[in-house]
């Protein structure tokens, strides 16, 4: 079984406000990489291919993915501001070329927060999808997967035929740290660089971000001294009790 893991570089979500955040692999995609590695470690996958779309600067995150244990990586060289639908159409072409049995990716990128690409890719390919997944088991000689999904109403379990798209939620696993030997090995692993023209895909984003502003901030209120004072304020001032 071959697993394709698309991933994105995002500003480190743990960086403090104001600080210039370094780039990292989107945390949900890192969970997808980790899961692919675990699937391979239990003997159910033979190859893990990572793919990302971006300028040469994302090679650093590609090296991290390779150091975690991804076998080889592809960078689709494109530095335009692409929207999720454009990304999905590019990935569709790549999926058709690579023919994986499973595409495993994060449910959302924590910079854009759109939560669209996996589902769009599944729609474009006509493949089944399991989104927001916290557990994956392969069934019937790896022709199907049973997935637990984190939904607003609690955990839902579905079974899907392969090939399929699976998007990860936080509870699927805890990604490993990159090891020094991993980093050494990563240097020797291949990164293929290809552009949209070579892939034969011509897409243009249909959404444009016109401006980005800081939303209004809440300001600090009042420090209170006691439970009695809190109850009084909630009753008399805030009128919520």
């Amino acid at each position: 079984m071959k697993i394709l893991v698309p991933f994105k570089s995002v500003p480190d979500p743990y960086a403090g406000a104001g600080a210039a955040a370094k780039s990292v692999i989107n945390p949900f995609d890192e969970i997808a990489i980790e899961e692919a590695l675990r699937i391979r470690e239990r003997g159910e996958a033979t190859e893990i291919v990572g793919v990302t779309i971006g300028a040469p600067a994302v090679d650093e995150q590609i090296r991290s993915a390779l150091a975690m244990g991804v076998d080889r990586a592809i960078r689709i060289d494109d530095s335009r501001a692409l929207d999720p639908y454009a990304i999905s159409r590019i990935l569709r072409t790549l999926v058709e070329r690579e023919a994986p049995q499973v595409v495993l990716m994060g449910k959302q990128a924590v910079d854009d927060d759109s939560n669209q690409v996996g589902q769009m890719l599944a729609g474009l390919l006509g493949w089944p999808q399991a989104t927001f997944v916290s557990k994956i088991e392969f069934l019937d000689n790896k022709t199907r997967a049973q997935c637990s999904r984190e939904t607003d109403g609690g955990i839902e379990v579905i079974a899907i035929s392969l090939p399929a798209i699976i998007t990860t939620d936080l509870r699927l696993n805890e990604p490993r740290y990159v090891s020094l030997p991993g980093l050494m090995k990563a240097r020797k692993k291949p990164i293929e660089v290809i552009n949209c023209e070579q892939l034969g895909v011509n897409v243009h984003p249909l959404t444009t971000t016109l401006s980005v502003a800081s939303p209004p901030r809440r300001t600090a209120g009042t420090r209170l001294e006691s439970v009695e004072e809190l109850v009084t304020r909630l009753k008399q001032e805030a009128k919520v009790l």
Partner: protein
Amino acid sequence: MAETLVLIELDRQRVKRPSLHAITLAQQLGGDYALLILGSGVAEAANSIISYGAAAVLVADDPALAEPLADRYASVIAQATRQQGAKRLLASSSTFSKDVLPRAAALLDAPMVTDVLALAKVDGAIAYQRPMNAGSKLATVKVDGELCVLTARATAFAMPSANGAPCLIATFAFDAASLPNEMQFVSRELRASDRPDLAEARVVVSGGRPLKDSETFERLVGGLADALGGAVGATRAAVDAGMAPNDYQVGQTGKVVAPELYIALGISGAIQHLAGIKDSRIIVAINKDADAPIFQMATYGLVGDLHQIVPQLIAAIQKT
């Protein structure tokens, strides 16, 4: 024919109220709108939404739609959108709409905007405001093309009024036999609770990492919520540690709430958590660390050990 199609979400054959808030976005966009519901045995649900000013309620009612499987649902939703000749397809943000609508967008060859908070006019054209980076940025987005798909943050749009003239209920006919059939429903966790739904509650009490285990969490967070008739939420740290189920998670990648009163117990105030609570009217923080970031945005702050404060607070509220 309707310019906008609003997908309404059901939970066990009943309309989920936050999903109705998307109707308010449809009204702000202007033009006529139809409501769409999918399911099996949903006549009663359809009847309950005829007075929201829609041109029609479209109903796709078939045993094949008993469970919200994304491949079938997206297919029917895309067919209905085409049949209506709609220019927009929208729904309130939820795990349901985020699962099925991007897939429907791909089938419709349309772009999508997630979590619309408000409309804006830029050079005479409609643009959409949406949060990014855990709500730390507010983007204004323009969409090109014939058709676009939107999800609306339910907390940013009011409940629409239900005093419109009753509209027609129309059956949306589709060929169930030709729907995709490669996804099967297996099971769903059933958790009975007398507490209000997080997304709709007037009061939400949430707990963080120091709640230690599920018993302590339930006794303190659950106990305070019950004293206030509220819902229970949690941080990622509390859910990861198994103190609370996943659907209690509030924040960037969990639920977004905007109650009258939000009480944060032992929550540091990470940006990912604040993304889900910012629009609450009153925020109370109880934390033993006087420098916890949550105090920078709480309406009322109390510094101290929650294990002592919360039982006192429950007792004080029960006395009032």
